[in-house]
Amino acid sequence: MIPFDYIRAESSAAAATEGCRPETQFIAGGTNLLDLMKLQIVTPARLVDVTRLDLGGVEETADGGLRIGALVRNSDLAADPRVRRDYAVLSRALLAGASGQLRNMATTGGNLLQRTRCPYFYDTAQACNKRQPGTGCAAIGGVTRNHAIFGASEHCIATHPSDMAVALRALDAAVEVETPDGARRLIPMAEFHCLPGDTPQIETALAPGDLITAVLLPPPLRGSHIYRKVRDRASYAFALVSVAAVVRIEAGSFAEVALAFGGVAHKPWRDAAVEAALVGRPADRAGFDAAADLLLAEARGQGGNEFKIPLLRRTLVAVLTEAAKGQMQ
């Protein structure tokens, strides 16, 4: 790590003011940022520790949803009785991520902002438009096993690695942010993460100094909550592909469907057309296949990740099959 000044924020206003200064990063659990700082991929001159701020706790909201403080640890969120009961897809996604130790450290805010696991981003000797804008993308034409099949650009083909974010996307969560002028704004998950385009260094809708204060969940969705993650080993590995699903079936047909996909794009991927095509259709194999066809029509492999296309197809079909089985007995 290169030297930095360490500042412990005493209030969110102070954190936001400090956070606006150049070369400054907030630090929460530290599990992603310190990893990147040790490798000198991220080299802040100042670290603002936000962990002493009052941003914890999971509370019920007036509309029947939940407000999750930005500092709630991934392990606490996964174990929260309301999340286990009403938002099982979120518990499942959290439990599928990282390890027990890391989940005890990782925070809700930090998890959303974790950086890509692209090996070329991690190797400072390689060209990477995300790490050093304008240098090119060494991943294109390189080893592309963990790269995107949706929404990639000629400037970046990296994926977002978070499991939690995929569940939050399926649940239509919103991110609450405190801006440096003290205002609060809500960013829907749909708009929180960006596609790479020609500015892959810009990953979210946050502006400098914006502090995540909470994540808001809408009232619970009934139906099967499933998170299926496919990875190289049974535990403690990032997703090759993942599917977060909240599916309600009535009289043998899909009544409500929310699907989000991880490991396949620069952000949690969601496709409204696929969900619309399923609603009203019988929950049978022909329907599952048609949904997978529609989803994968625009998928593009990069060579080493071509396997993700059939893998995502099979994972989606497996998830829909499981949902149908669960609700039609």
């Binding site: 040790k38 027990g100 450290m105």
Partner: protein, 174 residues
Amino acid sequence: MKTRLSINGETHEIDADARTTLLDALRHHIGLTGTKKGCDHGQCGACTVIVDGRRVNSCLTLACMQDGAQITTVEGLGAPGALSPMQAAFLAQDGFQCGYCTPGQICSATAMLEEIRAGWPSHVSADLEAPARLSVEEISERMSGNLCRCACYPNIVEAITQVGEAETVAEAAE
């Protein structure tokens, strides 16, 4: 930068560069070398210690961020002649070969049993709302953050099972 840490019940004040991880503070500033550095990137679990009752990777947190925290290392769990139940079980079940991962395994397993007692579910729990169970599958999943290069996993699972079952019996008797 001055930081006050309570380690194994003793208060230590260190004056270290802000870059010092909790792991390096323990080993280099305080001289507690039981905690090991495997990868320094959160990928192996050798550095696991218990902070305010929770197992964490000491390589991925800064000592200064832990100012005021209560930290337990493998040295604090027990001592020669007065081993903790988990330390004794690792010996009884031969839960190691080279021993490098062992302090991290023991700290992790000790805190993991508390997580099961608190009812936390895991990735392999069939029912998220049912009480957490102790099984080989559950132990393997919950301990996946601790790698063992000597592959002593079967005996590690045996050791944890022994302690977990003894605790369950003790609780039932109360």
